[in-house]
């Protein structure tokens, strides 16, 4: 056992105290400011992605009504929407936003291990976003090759953005990976080395476990995207043939010869599937904590939850080819990847059972964060079960290019993580801002989002069963698709517009509350984990005042029999726990 007196040496630790506005809010090395910078930038990029989705939904719901949405723009919007939402919104928000804010606070540390590197990470992330957004303004516009960027199609004339658009996308991704690696090293080393006294790994909140394992996945999976991006850039800019086969473009044979598009797909999905869990695992962790706090119960099966996170993380590296069944593969390969896909459902299902069992007989407080957390359980079960369909080769083949897939992955890694994002933001908003949000508006926001997204994605499953192909700008006239499919498409678009617009409730609530919301109690939900025990709300620079906390228990001591209150903070010593007897004595004295 190694005792490294790192986090306890708070007085000697160099804190980089900011002296000016610029140092405090721009070139800040404070993890909380960096978290807000990361989160703000991710949300801004996400809004761009959301608007793009509403635009291409206009074309699908009301074909040819908006004349500026031509086929090129449609494909560019679909592509950019996908990449923005998966990488620049969800990955950046969960790891850069929540990771930065939560890890040091939940670990009882003053900051990340490498604050300068942390600051560098957010600025490099900004650079990647600028490069990505620049592609909207270059000749030919952004790439329209689909978010998976499959060659050779992405690189050929006829695909919008095949010149500068795809180049900027690949460079932006490479820069993003540099930022994610800098941040990721920080998160992992901070969790490993900067936990305060008494805080063992098995006393960490599941939020930290989720972000920790997701960060490891990011560190080991993003290289695959980097490798494929670099090789594709070589193909485009230097004329190599890593992925580009011999091909004729507009009647002219290209110089490429013999490249393997399938190799790109393997590399892309070796990143792409862990990416699902890079988004999902932090969401699992965050929602576990929200459910436990608002159900006033310890999380059910804590150890099982930790192991499940680790198991899912490990298994996520051996399921990637289930995204490639339609590319063609040896049947034994298909069998292998179908089997591993079904196996990964086991730890995932364990987590779902444990969330439900956490609620079982809990003293549930139906606060706004709890609405979103319970809503997540619904959408995640829904999206998870359709994943079992698609994990099987024989069922995937007919459904793969249909709207069923769009419905599945939006339920499982679009709506579900976003509901957790809302749950988490509402849950921690009082600590981050020092103000309470408007509960009624937040609940209205929940119902608009939850029901609205079901109106969007439930009909999409049916469209998929009908055989309506995804990716198409216009369906044209086909015998097998009934005319009523268009009615569904129109309904979906109306619902999408409604959900999109209703997000104004969220932003307006947060912004209004920032100024006019009632002052928040330091621990309004009665939570046991460390971040709620800071001496200041919002936590000041350095988080913990003069001395770091000491941890005496796990993060889930809720409704402990005999205890005076229904939670015991992690930093309450065992012999100082207020008990019912103490409380009775106090009441007697008062009497």
């Amino acid at each position: 056992m190694a005792y490294v007196p790192l986090a306890d040496q708070d007085h000697e630790m160099e804190m980089h105290h900011p002296h000016s506005f610029v140092e405090k809010y721009v070139w800040s090395q404070d993890h909380k400011v960096i978290a807000i910078q990361y989160g703000g930038l991710a949300v801004f990029t996400g809004i761009v992605g959301l608007v793009l989705s509403l635009l291409f939904r206009m074309q699908l719901g009301f074909p040819d009504t908006a004349t500026f949405i031509d086929p090129n723009f449609y494909y560019q919007a679909v592509t950019m929407h996908g990449m923005i939402m998966v990488v620049y919104l969800l990955t950046a928000l969960f790891l850069g936003g929540f990771g930065n804010y939560m890890i040091p606070l939940m670990c009882g540390a003053r900051d990340m291990v490498f604050p300068f590197l942390n600051m560098l990470s957010v600025w490099v992330f900004l650079l990647s976003v600028i490069i990505l957004m620049a592609s909207f303004f270059v000749s030919g516009g952004p790439t329209g090759g689909g978010w998976t960027l499959y060659p050779p199609q992405t690189n050929l004339a006829g695909t919008p953005g095949h010149d500068m658009g795809i180049v900027l996308m690949l460079i932006s991704l490479a820069v993003f990976i540099v930022a994610a690696t800098m941040g990721g090293l920080n998160y992992v080393v901070t969790v490993l080395q900067y936990r305060c006294r008494g805080l063992t790994m098995m006393r960490l909140p599941l939020t930290v476990w989720g972000i920790f394992v997701a960060t490891l996945l990011a560190l080991f999976a993003f290289p695959a995207l980097l490798v494929s991006a670099v090789m594709m850039l070589f193909d485009i800019l230097l004329g190599t043939s890593f992925f580009m086969p011999a091909i004729i473009e507009s009647g002219t044979p290209l110089d490429h010869n013999g490249g393997s598009p399938i190799l790109f797909q393997h590399l892309f999905w070796f990143f792409g599937h862990p990416e699902v869990y890079i988004v999902a695992l932090p969401a699992f962790g965050l929602v576990s904590d929200v459910l436990s706090v608002h159900a006033r119960k310890n999380i059910f099966g804590y150890r099982m939850m930790v192991w499940a996170i680790i198991a899912i993380g490990g298994l996520s590296f051996i399921v990637w080819a289930h995204h490639m069944y339609v590319s063609g593969m040896h049947p034994y390969f298909g069998f292998f990847f179908a089997t591993t896909t079904l196996i990964i459902a086991v730890p995932t299902a364990l987590k779902v059972y444990n969330w439900i069992l956490t609620l079982w007989e809990g003293d549930i407080r139906m606060n706004a964060p709890m609405y979103f957390a319970i809503g997540f359980i619904f959408t995640f079960i829904h999206g998870g079960i359709t994943g079992l369909f698609l994990g099987n080769v024989v069922i995937d083949l007919p459904l793969s290019d249909s709207y069923f897939v769009v419905a599945h992955f939006h339920m499982v890694m679009g709506v579900s993580p976003v509901l957790v994002v809302f749950a988490a933001i509402y849950h921690w908003y009082p600590k981050i801002s020092g103000r309470m949000f408007h509960e009624g508006v937040a609940k209205l926001h929940f119902w608009c989002t939850f029901l609205g997204t079901y109106f969007i994605y439930l009909p999409m499953h049916y469209l998929g069963f009908l055989g309506v192909p995804r990716r198409y700008y216009a369906l044209g006239t086909t015998d097998f698709i009934p005319a009523s499919a268009q009615d569904l498409n129109t309904t979906i678009t109306v619902a999408a517009l409604f959900v999109g617009v209703s997000q104004i409730l969220f932003f307006a609530n947060l912004l209004w509350s920032l100024r006019y919301g009632p002052k928040a109690d330091p621990n309004p939900w009665g939570a046991a984990s460390l971040e709620w025990q800071t001496p200041d709300t919002p936590p000041s620079h350095g988080n913990w005042g003069d001395s770091l906390p000491t941890v005496y228990r796990w993060a889930y001591d809720y409704s402990v029999p005999g205890a005076a209150q229904d939670f015991i903070p992690q930093n309450t010593p065992e012999n100082e726990e207020p008990t019912m007897d103490d409380q009775n004595v106090d009441m007697d004295k008062e009497a």
Partner: protein, 204 residues
């Protein structure tokens, strides 16, 4: 404490401070070394994926192996010497010694620079011989993988140059003890990567 030692722990049962008076880190090593070790795993993944891509791509019929110039043996020797010199510097500073540290540390960097120069000369000679990057995937992989290795080495040289400046501006070897330790680890890693790449490129 061991991370995995406690996964069987029942945290809901154990109360009180676990782990004595000090805060607990999972590893005794300095944070920088822990971070570097994780980064080396990340870099290994990058090189491994390129290697997998190389092996898969060479199965296709248009693959024409290029004949690696003999100078690569000389370049390899330069990198080996660089790594040995770093280890020498590390061994001296480990026991808080100072004698010959400057010779070893500066020498290590100089030999690494010579290695990169040697690689550039090799690239030029291959270009002159008609092995252009776009003319065959084997060529493309050669330039890509050796270039990536050189970029990693340049990153290491950036750290080396910062520490060299410290030494040149009056700093003592003990001031850069950690830097020497990290550079040594990094250089050994890059030497192993290079030996694997060299073996792969030479034998296929």
């Amino acid at each position: 404490m061991s991370i995995f030692k406690n996964v069987t722990d029942k945290p809901w049962e154990r109360k009180g401070v676990i782990g004595g008076l000090e805060a607990e880190g999972a590893f005794e090593s300095p944070n920088e070394k822990v971070a570097l070790s994780i980064f080396l795993v990340v870099a290994s993944v990058v090189f491994s994926l390129f290697t997998v891509g190389y092996i898969l791509r060479m199965e296709l019929p248009d693959w024409r192996p290029l004949s690696e110039p003999a100078q690569l043996w000389f370049n390899t020797a330069l990198l080996v010497v660089s790594s040995i010199l770093f280890q020498w510097a590390r061994n001296i500073t480990k026991d808080d010694g100072e004698k010959n540290v400057r010779v070893a540390f500066f020498g290590a960097g100089v030999f690494a620079i010579l290695f990169i120069a040697g690689q550039v000369i090799t690239w030029n000679s291959l270009q002159s011989a008609g092995y252009f990057i776009a003319s065959n995937p084997a060529n493309a992989f050669y330039y890509l993988m050796t270039g990536l290795h050189a970029i990693h080495l340049l990153g290491g040289l950036w750290v080396w140059s910062k520490s060299s400046i410290t030494l040149l501006s009056g700093g003592q070897p003990k001031d850069i003890k950690l830097s020497i330790e990290l550079c040594t680890l990094y250089w050994h890693f890059l030497l192993i990567v290079w030996l694997v790449l060299f073996a792969l490129l030479s034998n296929t």
